[in-house]
Symmetry: C2
Subunit: 366 residues, 2 copies
C-alpha cells in the first residue's frame, strides 16, 4: 500500500516502511500542542506572525483554524511578514479530507484559543537569554504522559504537531544543552535562516543558566527549564505516554529532533514506537539538516510528505517551493496521516486542491 | 451477547437492547464532566463532600481518582458526611478492569484538578436562588459540541458522566423551567431526599429570574443561565456533538433527564443516538423517579447496571444497598461500558472485587 503513497523515507528507511505499514488504513487522532515564548519575539528570529508581538496570536489562531476551519482570535489566518499563510492551512486541509479528529493541547500560551483545549498547567515561556525560560516542566510532562496514554487507548494512533513561534531557536537551545551538535542545522520560516543569531541567543541562555554545551545531557528537565520552551514538556510527555499504547507520529521539522533527544534522556523505550513526519521542504532544505540531527540522537525513522505546490495557481502557495515556512502545525505529518488513512485515495494533488480551496476562501480571493 | 451482561433495561427496552448490541465489544472513551455551583453549598442539599465547603474539592478529587487511581487535591477520597466513599471508586474500578481511557472536561470548577483536563471557557456556578447561575452558556455549548464531535471520531463511542455536588437541585431547576414535572422525582445522595428544600430553592430561583414552570421551554440556554449549573452546557454540548459521529451513553441518574430535556430543546435529532446508563440503586429508588422524568421528555432507553454490594465484606460499600449515594461520576455507565466491552468476561461480581481492592487500598483498610 505504501508504494502508492506520496511519502518518502529520509532516515532509517526500513523502520519507516514498517511504520507506514502499521498505520495504513488506521484512524489517528491529530493533536496540536500550542505554546508561546518571549524568545519568539527577538527581532529577526521567527516569521510565524506578521510582526514579533503578533506571534502571541499565531498558536491560538492556528488551533482555531484546525478545529473550526477559520480563526477567531485574528482576522484571516496567521501570515509571515511576506504574506505567506500559516502551514496550519495544509494540516487543516489534509485532516478535513481524511476526516481525522483534532484535539488541541495547551503547553503554555499567552492568548488562549477560543475553542476547547486541554490544559496541562503550563505557562507561556520567557526569553531563553534569561537562562530560566519554562516553569513547571516536570509536572507538565507527567500530566502530558497521562493524557497521551489515555488518548492513545481511544484512537488507533496519535499524530502530534506543534505551533510555537521561535521554536527552532529553543530547539537549538535544548539540543545544545543535551550535547547534540545542531548549530547551523535547525530549520527556519524565514527566507534567510538566521543561524548566527540563533547560536548567539542560545549561547547567552546557556551562559545565564551557568551551563554549557552538553552539560545537561543527563538532566533533560533542567535543559527545558533553562533554554527550552513550553511546547516541549507537553509534546515529550504526550509522546512518551502515547507510545506505551499505540504508534506515535511526531509531526514537525527540526524541532522534533529536540523532542527526540529529550525522550531519549527521559524514557528511551518510547522511541521504539515513534516516527517523525515532516515535509519535503524540510527534508530537502539546504539551510538546515534534520537528518544530521536525528541520526546523532537515535534511529527513529523520518517520513516525508512529498508535497509540491509548484503547480498551484496561487503565488502565496507556490512560494512554499522556494523554501519559505516549510513546515509547522504538523503539516507534513497531517498529510502523511491523511494519505495513510485512505491509501491511494488521497494524493498530494488532492491535498493541494483542498488547500487551494481553503486558501481562496480564507484569504477572500476570487 | 447482552443476555450475559449484568445490565437491566428500565425504559424503552427494545431501543435499549439495540443500543447494547451496538456497543458490544466496542472501545469507548469515558468522559467525566466536572463543575461546581454555590447551590451545592446550601445546607441540607447535597452529601457530595464531608461538609458544604468541601464540595469545591469533590469534582477535582473525583477527576484525579479516575485518571490516577488516587486523589491529589485531598487526602483519601471524597466521602459523604456519613463516611460513604465517592461513586468515582466504582467508575475507576470498572474502567480500569476494562482498560477504558478517560478524559476530564471542565464545565466550570472553583478548584482545578491536578491532572490534564479540557477547558471550555466555563466558570463555577452561582446559587440558583439568584436566578442568574451560569455564565457563558452558549459559548460553552458550542465548544463542547466541537470537542464531542472530534472525540467521537477517535473512539468507537462515548460514555459521559458528571461530578457536581448539588446537581439534582439544578436538574430540578432546569426541568421545571423547561416544563417537565420533576418535583419529588429527582434523586439524592442523602439518606432522606430533601425534596421540599429542593423545590423551595428552585421556586426562589425561578422567581428571582422572573420565570415560572415551563416559561423557558423554548429557551434552554436561558434555563441553564438562570437556574442550571455549569456541568449542563458542557455535557449537553458533548452529547450533541458526539452523537453526530457515534453512539453516546449518558452516564448518570436523574440529572441526565435534565440534559435530555435540554438536548430535546436544542438539537432533538441527537437523541436518536443516545442512551442513559445508571445504577440499580437509582432505577429502583423509591424517593425518586428517573423513568417518570425520562418518559415525559423522550423515548431514549435507560440501561441499568445491576450492581449489588450486599455481599461486600466492607460496611462502607454494603451501605450502597440502603440507597445512599446511589450514583455519580458515571458509575452506572462506566460499569455498563466495561461489561459491554468485554462481554461476559467482566461481571458485576468482578467489578465489586476490584472496587473492594481499591477501597481497601485508598481508605488504608487492612
Amino acid at each position: 500500500m505504501k508504494q502508492s503513497l506520496d511519502v518518502l523515507l529520509a532516515c532509517n528507511a526500513p523502520k519507516g516502511e514498517a511504520f507506514l505499514d502499521e498505520i495504513a488504513g488506521k484512524n489517528p487522532l491529530f493533536i496540536c500542542t500550542i505554546a508561546t515564548t518571549e524568545t519568539g519575539k527577538i527581532p529577526g528570529l521567527s516569521a510565524a506572525g506578521a510582526n514579533p508581538d503578533f506571534t502571541d496570536f499565531t498558536p491560538p489562531a492556528d488551533a482555531e483554524l484546525l478545529l473550526l476551519g477559520r480563526c477567531k482570535s485574528i482576522q484571516g489566518v496567521p501570515i509571515t511578514p511576506d504574506g505567506i499563510p500559516t502551514p496550519a492551512l495544509i494540516s487543516t486541509s489534509a485532516l478535513h479530507l481524511a476526516d481525522i479528529p483534532v484535539l488541541i493541547v495547551n503547553g503554555g500560551v499567552k492568548v488562549k484559543p477560543q475553542i476547547p483545549f486541554v490544559d496541562l498547567g503550563g505557562n507561556s515561556g520567557r526569553d531563553i537569554r534569561s537562562g530560566d525560560s519554562v516553569d513547571n516542566v516536570d509536572e507538565v510532562i507527567e500530566r502530558a504522559k497521562i493524557l497521551g496514554e489515555n488518548l492513545a487507548k481511544a484512537a488507533d494512533y496519535l499524530v502530534i504537531g506543534e505551533s510555537i513561534p521561535g521554536g527552532t531557536t529553543t530547539a537549538l537551545g535544548v539540543l545544545s544543552a543535551l550535547g547534540v551538535n545542531a548549530a547551523g542545522k535547525v530549520s527556519s520560516t524565514l527566507p534567510e535562516n538566521p543561524h548566527s543569531l540563533k547560536s548567539e541567543v542560545v549561547k547567552a541562555g546557556l551562559a545565564a543558566a551557568k551551563e554549557k554545551f552538553g552539560s545537561l545531557s543527563k538532566n533533560p528537565i533542567k535543559a527545558i527549564s533553562c533554554v527550552g520552551d513550553p511546547m516541549m514538556p507537553a509534546l515529550a510527555g504526550l509522546v512518551i505516554g502515547g507510545a506505551r499504547q499505540a504508534p506515535v507520529l511526531m509531526a514537525g521539522g527540526t524541532q522534533m529532533s529536540a523532542i527526540l533527544a529529550l525522550i531519549k534522556a527521559l524514557n528511551p523505550e518510547a522511541l521504539c514506537n515513534v516516527a517523525v513526519g515532516t515535509t519535503r521542504w524540510v527534508a530537502n532544505d539546504k539551510s538546515s539538516d534534520i537528518k544530521g540531527i536525528v541520526n546523532q540522537v537515535c534511529d527513529v525513522p523520518v517520513l516525508v510528505a512529498d508535497l509540491n505546490f509548484g503547480g498551484s495557481e496561487f503565488p502565496g502557495l507556490q512560494i512554499y517551493e522556494t523554501g519559505l515556512v516549510k513546515e509547522g502545525v504538523g503539516a507534513g505529518g497531517a498529510c502523511i496521516a491523511a494519505m495513510a488513512k485512505r491509501g491511494g485515495a488521497i494524493t498530494r494533488d488532492m491535498i493541494l486542491k483542498e488547500i487551494e480551496r481553503n486558501y481562496a476562501l480564507l484569504m477572500g480571493i476570487k
